[in-house]
Subunit: 323 residues, 2 copies
């Protein structure tokens, strides 16, 4: 059954059932000219938006519709995490060719719904339009009592990251180079179904640990660190040997005859957090997050990005570029 | 100069300058992982989103980039008007082919910016992605103290509309059929640069006039009245002779050898408001809005849509359908 068989409003009725959720603060969900919600849980309202375009952001040969929906929502949740917030409400615009199968759109919404439920997000509205290429466009609202901007890094701060880096890029390379091995599941899972670090950033906030700046690693360490440094008016030195890398990531790089440091520095979509904080706050963060946070360098007065691997080298950002 | 020459972040820097705006309630605008705003001006937060896809929602042969941006923002503002709210913050996702001219995107943003400024909207964030087809996706936040839903129409209510109907469709037909006449400017302007009825709905609210249900006329009277009736569990009878039609609309229909009532009933994108209210409230509305509101029928117990033009006929919705 294709969506032209059920029509725009028939499709919306089906999708509404999949992501139906209730909240005492939700007054009017999908189906009116606008959604109506009450005041945000925390003082400041956060708004972020992202597009996911077929063949640019996702490839149907590698990902199920469910995967695509899950990752799209998670990328938005990750932006809220990077601000030190909690996600609350989302609206979704779908652009679909009229030959799209209803079942595929429902699967997409199941993925969106799962990532939403797991993170306390309610889908409150959206829009369906015809288009020649499939794309989805999510706007996520969240809130925070204290916002962590990109621009707050201070000279001498510890630069830290959550999780391990490069694993999502390893997953991408598995698909691109058709690598197979029993060890590859970690990379594939990280690439297809990343987890935003909402819980971890909120553990830091609950423990009153002061984070000066934060960004989520969507474009790649070099590029995203560059954004933080530029916004903060600082530079950074990163110790390559201190960057946490999973064994699975190294294995994929070896199989692909590639340098794992290229995965780590330039591979995007890990959706880990990069944080800048004083040494004292980092030590506290290390205690509450255990092995989930690692210091990888320092913010410097010299406004350049450098890496250290026995000697200092200038790091040129080359993350994913749209244009 | 094409956008690949300035890159994603170079383009964002240019667009930010065009829609730069300040508000004491805006804490962090374009350029971080999320925008940060303070509490809404009114009690309830409204969220609406819309997509505008080239060749589906707009045609570059008829509209300038400035027109396209203006209309896209206005369509969202119209949704906030239909809820009885005021618009406040917007985020915009742009999907652009990499051969797009920088100047064109800047013109698009000037149109978005003008419609925003005229309606008190601040552009606080967005996203730029590569795509094979140009599209823009706007999410607009607003607020309202008392929300007007689609679902509140009561049996016996007056069904009223603002402005005149069918003029945007007349504008569309001028372009489609290459009609020319000095009288055609009104239709072209209505089609290319519609005005959302934010001021009028807020005049009603300030004057404490109770509107039971409201929708904006984006799909066409028959279709949008159908949404209100379905959501409210009522039917409606519309007196065709009572529907306000501009002379310019009739002229275009005559030139095109078409029935102007098809424009009025099934033509979309007028962005006028359809309101349902008691007779008593309608009389008050007529006083404060003067000739800008017209009663065109009544809500009925019988759950069908009928028109009266000497005899009663069943009205079958056939507004714009995406699928």
């Amino acid at each position: 059954m294709q969506i032209k068989d059920v029509g725009e409003f028939g499709l919306i009725d089906r999708l509404r059932k999949i992501v139906k959720s209730e909240s005492k603060n939700l007054f009017l969900g999908i189906g009116d000219d606008a959604a109506v919600v009450g005041s945000a849980k925390r003082k400041y309202t956060l708004v972020t938006t992202d597009s996911f375009v077929e063949q640019v952001h996702f490839n149907r040969a590698w990902a199920t519709w469910n995967d695509i929906g899950y990752k799209a929502m998670m990328a938005n949740v990750s932006d809220i995490a990077a601000m030190g917030g909690i996600p609350e409400w989302a609206v979704i615009s779908l652009n679909l060719p009229d030959k799209t199968n209803v079942k595929d759109v429902e699967d997409l919404y199941r993925g969106i719904g799962l990532a939403s439920t797991n993170n306390g997000v309610h889908i409150v509205g959206g829009n369906v339009s015809k288009a020649s290429v499939t794309s989805l466009h999510i706007t996520l609202l969240g809130s925070a009592d204290k916002v962590i901007p990109r621009s707050g890094a201070k000279i001498g701060d510890v630069i830290a990251v959550t999780g391990t880096l490069g694993l999502a890029h390893a997953g991408l390379r598995i698909f691109q180079k058709k690598l197979t091995s029993s060890r590859n599941n970690l990379g594939r899972t990280k690439f297809l179904r990343p987890e935003a670090r909402i819980k971890w950033i909120n553990v830091l906030i609950r423990n009153k640990i002061k984070v000066n700046a934060c960004i989520d690693l969507s474009d790649g360490l070099a590029s995203d660190l560059g954004h933080v440094c530029k916004a903060s008016g600082v530079g950074a030195v990163i110790d390559l040997s201190a960057i946490p890398v999973a064994v699975a990531t190294q294995k994929v790089a070896t199989m692909a005859h590639e340098n794992v440091m290229d995965y780590v520095l330039f591979g995007g979509e890990d959706y880990e957090l990069l944080l800048s904080m004083s040494k004292k706050e980092f030590i506290k963060a290390k205690i509450v997050l255990k092995q989930n946070i690692h210091a990888i360098g320092f913010a410097t007065r010299d406004k350049t990005l450098k890496v250290f691997d026995g000697e200092f080298r200038t790091l040129t950002p080359k993350g994913y570029k749209h244009f």
